[in-house]
Symmetry: C2
Subunit: 131 residues, 2 copies
Amino acid sequence: MSEKIGILAIGHGSRLPYNNQVVTEIANMISDNHPEYIVKAGFMENSEPTVEEALMSFEGTGVTKVAAVPVFLASGIHITKDIPAILKLDPETNEGEVQLNGKNVKIVYGKPLGSDKLIAELIFKRAQEVI
Amino acid sequence: MSEKIGILAIGHGSRLPYNNQVVTEIANMISDNHPEYIVKAGFMENSEPTVEEALMSFEGTGVTKVAAVPVFLASGIHITKDIPAILKLDPETNEGEVQLNGKNVKIVYGKPLGSDKLIAELIFKRAQEVI
C-alpha cells in the first residue's frame, strides 16, 4: 500500500486574527507547492479549527499517516507538553494514532522551525523595511 | 553623518532554554552575514538579557538608529501592546527613543516574520524529517 501523507500545521492560536492568518497561509502554501500531500491547519487555543477538529478533518482524504508540525519558532512547554497532550502522543516515542474512517492512522510529530539562516534573512529584511 | 544601524532581535523568552537559543542563534547569524550592523538579542519575559538590557547594551557601539524586530511568527498582543510598552514607543508612530552615550537614538519597530514561502518550505522540511 502506498502512503498518502497528511500534514497538520499546528498554530498557537490567538484572540487576534494574525496567528490564524499566518498559519493558514503557510498551510495553503505547502498545499500549493506539494499537491500530493493533504495539508490542514489547526490551533492549540483561541482559534478554530482546533487541533482535534483539524485532525478529524483528514477523514475521507485517504491519508495513511499524519505529520503534525508545530508552526512555532522554538520549542517550549506548548511543544513539549501541551500539543503532545492534545494529540495523545506516547511520551516515549512522540507518536500517536487517530481513527479515521474506522482505521488507525499513525501520527508523527515534527520539530518547530528552530534557528535557520532563512529566518535570519527574513528578520534582517524586516529590519530593512523600517530603517 | 552616516547612519550606523543596530538591530535588536526581540524574543518571547521562556523558562526553557529553547527560545533563548533560537533567537540568539538568529541574532548571531544576522551579525555574521551583515557585519556592518550591530545586532543584539533581548527577551520580553523569562529570559535574559531583557529587552531593556539589550537596548542599553548598544551603549558605546555608536549606533545612530535601532531597528527593534520581534522574532515572532505572527502579530498578537505581545507585538501590538507588550513590546511597544517595554520600548516606550509612541502609539501613533510606532517609534521611540533611547538615550545612549548621552544622545537620543531613534528606535523603529519592525514586523514579525509573517507568512512567507521560506517558512512554508521549512515546515514542509520538518514534516519530511519525521514521515
